[in-house]
């Protein structure tokens, strides 16, 4: 495995595949179980804590809970390896802190108390703190775990910008496979039985690695959509006559209800005059919206089962 500057690597894998262990080993928090971590050509053990802190900085998965501390001061803690014993911040240190806040998009948060920040805001401040260590390598353990969807996207985008715009090597573990595939330059994929694969997200999708590592029981990775599908339900076919957006969303709805779209099918669904028209065994019914449509479709399925 290799980490290069200017690259965002997403570390993915099911629970228990050892993502956190790998990160903790690379950051020197724990000793390697096997193998060796080399940093700028030297083994990681040859660095003392302070020297290591100037190369690698970390955002851990457990949320930091401190009160009575302003975001600016929290980011300032990142200057630890650079300040003297009595922790006097020089003008140079303040400048780095301001730059770090700016880079992480956290400048407006600087004067806020940490305990008043939302999860997403706090994560940005923690990333700024990591940047204040001026590392060439930034490692994050599930930085998006506690965030809502927009928060997750914005953190990942931030990481990509940092990698590309500021030439940092960034390694982040994530459970958000969908987001990882859209944003990572490279994916490190870990399986449960010590399997390790890497490549562009698309490479891993094409060679079936994702499907192999992530398919558990009824949940399957669909290489066509790059998403997880609920498999194992009796799949029946529906013939769909609709165009554009309506077609895309109707197909999603059908999939969700356990139907797939096919050319020759007993059940027909057509979008005409802003209504959904369902035909089945010479019976026809019209629906205003997809919700009502699905209610009936499920009913049809039941009848069939009987």
């Amino acid at each position: 495995m290799e980490l290069c500057p200017g690259e965002l690597i997403c570390l993915v894998g099911p629970n228990g595949s050892g993502k956190s262990t790998l990160l903790r080993t690379i950051t020197g928090l724990q000793k390697a179980l096997a193998g060796e971590v080399m940093l700028h050509g030297k083994p990681i053990e040859s660095y003392d804590n302070k020297a290591l802190a100037k190369v690698i900085s970390v955002v851990l998965t457990t949320p930091v809970r401190v009160g009575a501390m302003r975001a600016y001061d929290l980011v300032g803690l990142g200057r630890f390896p650079f300040t003297d014993m009595f922790d006097q911040m020089r003008e140079e240190d303040h400048k780095v802190v301001r730059t770090a806040l700016e880079m992480a998009g956290a400048t407006p948060l600087a004067e806020r108390f940490v305990h008043t920040l939302s999860d997403g805001e706090r994560q940005k401040v923690m990333i700024a703190r990591a940047l204040a260590q001026e590392p060439s390598l930034l490692m994050l353990d599930e930085p998006t775990a506690f965030l809502d969807l927009p928060g997750r996207v914005s953190v990942m985008q931030l990481l990509r910008d940092l990698a590309h715009g500021h030439d940092k090597a960034i390694l982040t573990s994530t459970h958000d496979l969908d987001l990882a595939m859209r944003i990572a330059d490279r994916v490190w994929l870990m399986g449960r039985n010590g399997e390790f694969l890497q490549g562009a997200p698309e490479d891993l999708a094409l060679d079936g690695s994702f499907s192999r590592v992530f398919s558990i029981g009824k949940v399957q990775f669909d290489a066509y959509t790059g998403q997880f599908q609920m498999n194992g339900m009796p799949t029946r076919q529906v013939m769909l006559k609709a165009e554009g957006l309506n077609r895309i969303w109707a197909e999603k709805a059908l999939n969700r209800a356990g139907f797939s779209v096919g050319d020759e099918a007993e059940i027909q669904l057509e979008f005409v005059e802003n209504t959904w028209r369902l035909s089945y065994q010479h019976k026809q019914k019209s629906f205003e919206n997809i919700y009502d449509l699905l209610q009936t479709l499920r009913h049809v399925e039941l009848e069939k089962a009987e």
Binding site: G78, M85, Q133
Partner: protein, 359 residues
């Protein structure tokens, strides 16, 4: 909730941390002077100068009380308050728990065991304990208390490497406390009544029992303990984020833990040896400091807890003198009566996330 936090400064303009430190610095000598005036014998303020500079012109009993009782007591209170306050601050940051202090974590119990062994185990010292110990006796008392404190603290730190959950850790600390207290009870059970009595008096807590001779041991040890803390503000600041973060930021966590362990046991152990197990000061003082200064920065919190600790200890001592009466309450009674509601308030405040830690 967020809104109330933001609108607060509009209604209540807060003093800066620096201003608070200045206020505390001015308040300490005033409280110190006040504590010299209060006691069962009324010594007027204007005679103080005479007592110090012209002892022949005032009542000799006043000079005696002032020199050998009140002054020693006030100095002991200042040293103990500083020691307990700053030891509590270190404990709270190290364990990242608002309720951690030498007392709750059983460190004082360890010190008690050390003292009990010295007082009740060796007849020679116990006789001296009532009449005032020899310097050697004082040192052995301080050493025994510090070792007892250090053992319990070391045990807790050892366990804390496997037990990450702070609540579990606190409960373990309580259990260690019970276990050592049981040993102390056992010692009491098999001891001679006069030794037991000496120990009981000690366990009520008092600055008044400290002698000049004991102060000669107490002061340097506490000053060494405080001196150690002076090297730690930077380390304590990063420890606020937890040991993992501290390590990735370049802190030598093992060394720092060891330094905190040494200084805390020296501080809490010595105070406990001479003034008895004084509760609640260690919890309350750091919280008052954080709330006044609105900061978690140990560069400011350490001086603030030192000053506040001294002030609170002096005030608690003054209250225990019950001014105007001839009674003196045990110091522990005073600190507990005021301390217990304070700790309840701290726990309730946790919910609002305004203090440094969340349980």
């Amino acid at each position: 909730m967020q809104k109330s936090v933001h609108t607060k400064p509009v209604f209540r303009r807060r003093l800066s941390a620096k201003n608070w430190l200045t206020i505390l610095l001015i308040a300490l000598p005033i409280v110190f002077l006040l504590s010299l005036l209060i006691g069962s014998v009324n010594i007027p303020l204007k005679s103080i100068a005479d007592i110090i500079f012209n002892p022949d012109q005032v009542k000799s009993s006043w000079v005696y009380i002032f020199r050998n009782y009140r002054l020693v007591k006030a100095i002991a209170a200042v040293l103990s308050g500083m020691a307990l306050g700053v030891a509590g601050l270190q404990m709270q940051t190290l364990f990242r728990n608002p309720l951690a202090d030498p007392f709750i974590l059983g460190i004082n119990s360890g010190a008690s065991l050390g003292v009990a062994l010295v007082v009740m185990g060796t007849g020679v010292l116990s006789g001296a304990f009532i009449s005032g110990l020899t310097t050697l006796g004082d040192i052995s008392l301080a050493v025994a208390a510090s070792i007892g404190a250090g053992l319990v603290l070391g045990l807790i730190l050892l366990v804390s490497r496997w037990v990450r959950n702070v609540t579990t850790l606190l409960i373990l600390g309580l259990m260690f406390g019970y276990a050592t207290n049981a040993l102390v009870s056992l010692l009491i059970y098999f001891s001679r009544p006069d030794r037991v009595h000496a120990f009981m008096i000690w366990s009520y807590g008092s600055f008044g029992g400290v002698t000049w001779n004991q102060l000669r041991v107490m002061a340097p040890v506490i000053l060494i303990g405080i001196g150690l803390v002076m090297f730690l503000p930077k380390a304590l600041n990063v420890l606020l984020l937890g040991e993992d973060y501290a390590k990735t930021m370049g802190l030598n966590v093992k060394k720092t833990r060891f330094l905190i362990l040494i200084s805390s046991s020296l501080l809490a152990g010595t105070v406990t040896a001479f003034a008895g197990p004084i509760g609640f000061l260690g919890i309350a003082v750091p919280h008052i400091a954080r709330n006044l200064l609105r900061t978690s920065d140990h560069k400011k919190l350490i001086p603030a807890t030192l000053l506040l600790g001294a002030i609170v200890a002096l005030v608690a001592d003054m209250i225990s003198q019950l001014p105007g009466s001839h009674y003196i309450l045990p110091l522990n009674v005073v600190t507990s009566i005021f301390g217990a509601p304070f700790v309840i308030w701290v726990i309730l405040r946790q919910r609002r996330g305004e203090t440094s830690f969340v349980v």
